[in-house]
Amino acid sequence: MTSAAAASSPEVLEAAKPAAPRSLLHRTLDRPGAWVGYAWLGLIALAGIFAPFIASSHPWKLVLADGTMEYPLLAHLTPADVAIPVIAGLVVATVIARRWLAARWAWGGCVGLGVLAVALSWGLVNPPELTVFERSRIMLADGSAVSATYTLIPYSPSDRFRDQPGRGLDLPIAPNATHLMGTDRAGADLLSRMIHASRVALAVGFIATGIALIIGVILGGLMGYFVGLVDLIGMRLVEVFSAIPVFFLLLTFVAFFPRNLYIMMVIIGCTGWVGYARFVRAEFFKLRAMDFVQAGRACGLPLWSILFRHMLPNAIAPVLVAASFGVPSAILYEATLSFLGLGLVDEPSWGQMLSQATGAGGNFYWWIAMYPGLAIFLTVFGFNLFGEALRDVIDVKS
């Protein structure tokens, strides 16, 4: 870390700041392990972002018998289906635009446009309330439609054969030519659910870690900066949350609130901040006595500026490493809760799929165990490989 050298003059710090995080990520690429991590995470990120365009029961284009055309896939997109690719595109555009724009403008614009995109898509996109997955298939069968162009996997994650008359006894279906990974117990296509679940997993991982990071940085920063009474009270709070297994706390919280993706993210975030708070506190302890902090205080800078503009950039490195291990653990928490039946109900989730692999009667369906489990494993492994590479880059000692 260059903090000690850079600390003495604010100009050096200012000049070094924009380059630092990028070069860190670049340097992780020196490690072969990180490549494996990046490759898998990129794959599931793509799958998650474009999930409805890869796996859906609604065809892109449906040609009716009278020659008119329908576009059921576009009509059935939910606001999130629209907002997520747009936001992903914005982030990519921002990274490219950073070559010409200052970080503040590029990321500011990205956040602004992102909020606008979310507002617009929730305001303008309204899919039909009743979804009949069978519709296009029935229309093709009875001749009221002539042809249909389906997505790569022509099944939606909630398109369950169990709901059709006369089906249910043959479920789950083992992998075959139409269902490459078979179906789950309710007869939903496993591959389709896997693809849609990668969105859920990544969203939970990143947003929950983000929430935990914000709480941890603010509390840890205040504790490390003010010491004394604030620190004493804060540390008791930290102790409360670390005395009891996090998973027990999660279990209790989840059970008492509605089963909902967003609430799950908040709960995982609210229970996982302790580690970050400890790291930030320890770093701020060291930094608060340094000259540049004293100078900032003497200049009469507002508290938030001292804490988050001047001290935080010097303390962020160990926190980033912790966060890169925090994302997979949030993903694991979600998977485990869903596995125990306390997680998501209708949304596809790797953990919820995995829980269907064994069951009453001693049946074991290898495909339901293998594919979702492998997906969780590879995702966690990918993040851990990335985290190790990042730690090696930041920590020169080892």
């Binding site: 392990g33 008791r236 709070l237 102790e239 409360v240 949350f241 670390s242 005395a243 009891i244 297994p245 996090v246 998973f247 027990f248 706390l249 279990l251 209790t252 919280f253 989840v254 059970a255 008492f256 609130f257 509605p258 997979p328 694991l332 998977a335 485990t336 596995f339 125990l340 039946g341 306390l342 953990g351 995995l354 829980s355 692999a357 064994t358 001693g362 049946n363 074991f364 290898w366 165990a369 489990g373 492998l374 969780i376 494993f377 966690v380 492994f381 851990n384 490989l385 190790e388 080892s398």
Partner: protein, 360 residues
């Protein structure tokens, strides 16, 4: 040392109050509140009996009182020093008691005293932990030292990536695969699918025996047979994590000045490694063990659910599903006490292992 321990034990009290308060208020502030599910799950009640049931709950648990009062009453019942509890746990201020047996209440879902349920469940979880922790610690110390000795060579590299992989393996997946491939009737049926004992194990002799040419595996072997898969499932991740930690810790010490001095004065490599490096390398392991052991209790939730072992984890999951207030609060209290005691033990062990650290 003694005064330090006493001080730490006293500091546990505010922390435990904090733990239970967090759990209590999250439960109480959730939609439906504490009594909500019980009123709903009692089936289709007419208005009159629903009102009667609500009155009963209000009277029994004081649910119509403000939350702070409810929590205070619970605290008074649990605390060894306090006042007598009257109707609905009401504090009887006129009857102070210096020492009383903590009353954890009665489980609403199982209709039994909570303390009895924990008396049955706690030893099971502790048994799992007592089996798992020494195995993982000993194995990972061994593996870590050998990896460090062969730094950069094939064994080190292979073990390094294997351990990162092991560490990333989700417990739920390992559990399901073990159950599916080693315990189901479709593949190898080597192990039982769950539970702690076979149905009739209580009638068997303690040790394995041969009677009239027939082998009886006995209670002990039967129990061990049931515990193989859960112990593997609980141990592998910590084993991988601790091995990596031990490796980096040994490597850090090997390059330290005191090791060079020890070598320079002609000590044998073995003596340097096992007497000088070894003891110093244990310190980080002791530090993290404060977190590993409460983590095992948390991990037991998953493993006990997969293998249907009637321990604390299973009890917690059942309690959470039933929204059983008394059982959940007691669970928070018990795991909080265990967690804090392990943190204290780790701190004490640190002082024993490292003479530079002293708490006096």
């Amino acid at each position: 040392m003694l005064s330090y321990i006493v001080r730490r034990l006293l500091l546990m009290i505010p922390t435990l109050i904090g733990v239970t308060a967090v759990v209590f208020f999250v439960m109480a502030l959730s939609p439906g509140g504490v009594g909500g599910t019980d009123l709903n799950t009692e089936g289709e009640l007419d208005a009159q009996s629903r009102a009667a049931l609500r009155d009963y709950y209000n009277e029994r648990y004081g649910l119509d009182k403000p939350l702070v009062v409810q929590y205070g009453r619970w605290l008074n019942r649990v605390s060894p020093i306090g006042f007598e509890s009257g109707q609905a746990g009401a504090v009887e201020w006129s009857k102070p008691r210096l020492l009383k047996w903590p009353d954890l209440g009665e489980s609403t879902s199982k209709r039994r005293p909570v303390i009895d349920l924990y008396k049955e469940a706690l030893p099971v979880t502790l048994l799992l932990n007592v089996l798992v922790s020494p195995i993982t610690f000993l194995l990972s110390i061994w593996a870590g030292i050998h990896m460090a000795k062969r730094k950069g060579r094939a064994f080190d590299l292979a073990a390094g990536s294997t351990f990162l992989g092991l560490w990333s393996l989700p417990q739920i997946w390992v559990g399901v695969l073990l159950l599916g491939y080693l315990a189901s009737n479709q593949y190898l049926q080597w192990f039982p699918t769950g539970g702690l004992s076979s149905t009739r194990a209580d009638e068997w002799a303690f040790l394995p025996s041969w009677s009239s040419g027939e082998f009886n595996r006995g209670w002990l072997l039967d129990r061990a047979w049931h515990l193989v898969l859960p112990v593997i499932c609980l141990a592998y991740a910590d084993f991988a994590f601790l091995s990596k930690l031990m490796r980096s810790s040994v490597l850090e010490n090997i390059s330290a000045d005191f090791v060079r001095t020890a070598k320079a004065k002609g000590l044998k490599a073995k003596v340097v490694l096992y007497q000088h490096v070894f003891r110093n390398s244990l310190l980080p392991l002791i530090t993290v063990s404060a977190g590993v052991i409460p983590g095992l209790i948390g991990g037991a939730i998953v493993v006990e659910s997969i293998f249907s072992i009637p321990g604390m984890g299973k009890l917690s999951v059942d309690a959470v599903f039933a929204r059983d207030r008394e059982l959940i609060l007691a669970g928070a209290l018990v795991s909080g006490v265990l967690g804090l005691i392990f943190i204290l033990l780790a701190d004490l062990a640190y002082a024993i292992a490292d003479p530079r650290v002293s708490y006096d």
